[in-house]
Amino acid sequence: MMWVVGVLIFWVAAYGLNIWLSNSEWRNTRAVKFAVPAIFGITILVIWEGLVKGLQVPPVILPPPSMIAAKVVDSIPVLWGDLVQTFVKGALTGYIIGCSAAVITAILIDRSPFLQRGLLPVGNFIAALPIIGTAPILVMWFGFDWQSKAAVVVVMVFFPMLVNTVQGLKATDSMQRDLMRTYAGSYWQTLFKLRLPAAMPAIFNGLKIATTLALIGAIVAEFFGSPTRGMGFRISVEVGRLGLDMVWAEIFVAALAGSAFYGAVAMIEKGVTFWHPSQRR
């Protein structure tokens, strides 16, 4: 009971603090903008911990955050091995192959409006399908190791990336292209000096969407078969053994890796598309 009452008091206090902070005169400062969601997150963790302890929820249903944190610290080597297998070997390889293939395809079909008009609706259609379903097929073709995961990722990221790149290549207006023409710029000069740079905001939009898809593809593909390591493998095995603290630890690592991956791409975007209005402060 003590835990539950304590949690309730903490919740009311944090809630009050957040309301006060977000209506105070400092509400537009950076510190408050960071503090309010942080307080919210901490409150959720405290409520979770308190309710699990206070209501004596068994850890096979919901382990408390402290237990998950201890598990993360305990099993860093295992988690690291899984991360390398799933993220670096599977997701990252597939991401690089898939995204570059899509950009190259977009440039290849750039000169043919006929192909573009044909491929874009098909690409848009395929991008809306549950492509994750190709995972069992690709696992059969490429074996259990990371190659099949990379293949799933390639298929998943290709079409969103292709559609975004083709759209980006259309981003220049005729004034700018005419200027290149008056400079006697060739097709390739115009492409590299004007159209590709102008396409970068759209390309990075695709790259950012693809980061999440890559991790999803690599993890779900492991549910269909994998060597004895990898995040998806660990999750399905530990779920079967009711080792939920390890499952949560893997999810924590997956969340961390996903955000870091997205953040890294967003940082590169900031450097490459510094000229775009959306990057201005």
Binding site: V60, A128, G133, I137, M140, I219, V239, I251, F261
Partner: protein, 307 residues
């Protein structure tokens, strides 16, 4: 219609490549068989054989169509080998999850737009959640919910009292619907917050000069102008819900639904069955998103917002 001819060409090209790849990828088995039997295979025989194997590496399109026909039209829809049966299981989980996920998402978005504390505390997490592979929790939710016994949409007793029997799709429906709801929830929150904020200051000021209340502003300005955003997020939410339902079927028991068909197919090397399930899932996704698109076009036209 301008795109009709190019699209047909691209689809035809994909078909040609597919049939070619199917000859190439299935040829190893044919050559192995021939070598074992000590015979030679001509090219014609090779093509014929590779397009009609029972467990091909890559089935030819007509084999998938035949399997789809066999497992939808020729089987009774209550049979466990009918794709209609499995498709309905997946569809019910998708729709239930979609309704709950988008409903909660819209409610949260309304809260976020009207309450600054909520906006500042929840919104960063909602945005960050889009970079996280949420789907990884699917197996855990399935197992935890079956541990606490909350898997059926209506318990056996309640369902029997209502219908006289327990419909198959209700068994194990809840965990799948929860995951489907979870996957459609966050995109809808983010999209709807954008939509409810889309009226510009001029419009908001106009309503202020009318002395309109907050709820009047909401019903007459914010909600109508969020409609295009609503449909975009509904489409994303529907696709997410379907993926959630399929992935959660990999670990749910009893093994039913399109995801389960893929899993059992991959256990037993039934490649044609996997492809048929994949095509059924694709057709389902296209239909569901297409229906939302049709409602979108109709309502935007009626509201005078069509592009």
């Amino acid at each position: 219609m301008r795109n009709f001819f190019p699209v047909i060409t691209v689809v035809a090209a994909i078909m040609v490549i597919w049939y070619g790849a199917s000859v190439w990828m299935n040829s190893k088995w044919v050559y192995d068989q021939a070598a074992r039997a000590g015979t030679e295979v001509s090219f014609g025989e090779l093509v014929k054989d590779t397009w009609s194997q029972e467990r091909p590496v890559l089935p030819a399109p007509h084999q998938i169509v035949a399997e789809l026909y066999k497992s939808t039209v020729e089987k009774k829809i209550t049979s466990k080998r009918s794709l209609v049966f499995h498709g309905w299981i997946t569809l019910s989980a998708t729709l239930l999850g979609f309704i709950f996920g988008t409903g909660m998402g819209i409610l949260l978005a309304i809260g976020i737009v009207h309450n600054r504390a909520m906006d500042m505390s929840v919104m960063p997490w909602a945005i960050a959640s889009q970079t996280v592979p949420i789907i990884a929790i699917a197996p855990m939710i399935v197992v935890v919910m079956s541990t606490i016994g909350a898997t059926d949409f209506l318990g056996k007793g309640a369902a029997t009292a209502l219908f006289g029997y327990q419909p198959a799709f209700m068994q194990g429906l809840l965990p799948k619907a929860v995951i489907a709801a979870y996957l459609s929830f966050f995109p809808v929150v983010v999209g709807m917050v954008k939509g409810l904020r889309s009226p510009d200051n001029m419009q908001l000021d106009l309503l202020k000069t009318y002395n309109a209340s907050k709820s009047r502003t909401f019903w007459s300005l914010r909600l109508p102008s969020s409609t295009p955003y609503l449909f975009t997020s509904l489409k994303i939410g529907m696709a997410g819900a379907l993926v959630g339902a399929i992935v959660s079927e990999l670990s749910a028991s009893p093994l039913r639904g399109l995801g389960a068909r893929m899993l059992t197919g991959s256990y037993y090397g039934q490649t044609i069955q996997i492809w048929a399930a994949l095509f059924a899932a694709a057709a389902m996704a296209a239909t569901l998103v297409g229906i939302i698109g049709m409602i979108e076009r109709y309502s935007l036209q009626r509201m005078g917002m069509a592009k």
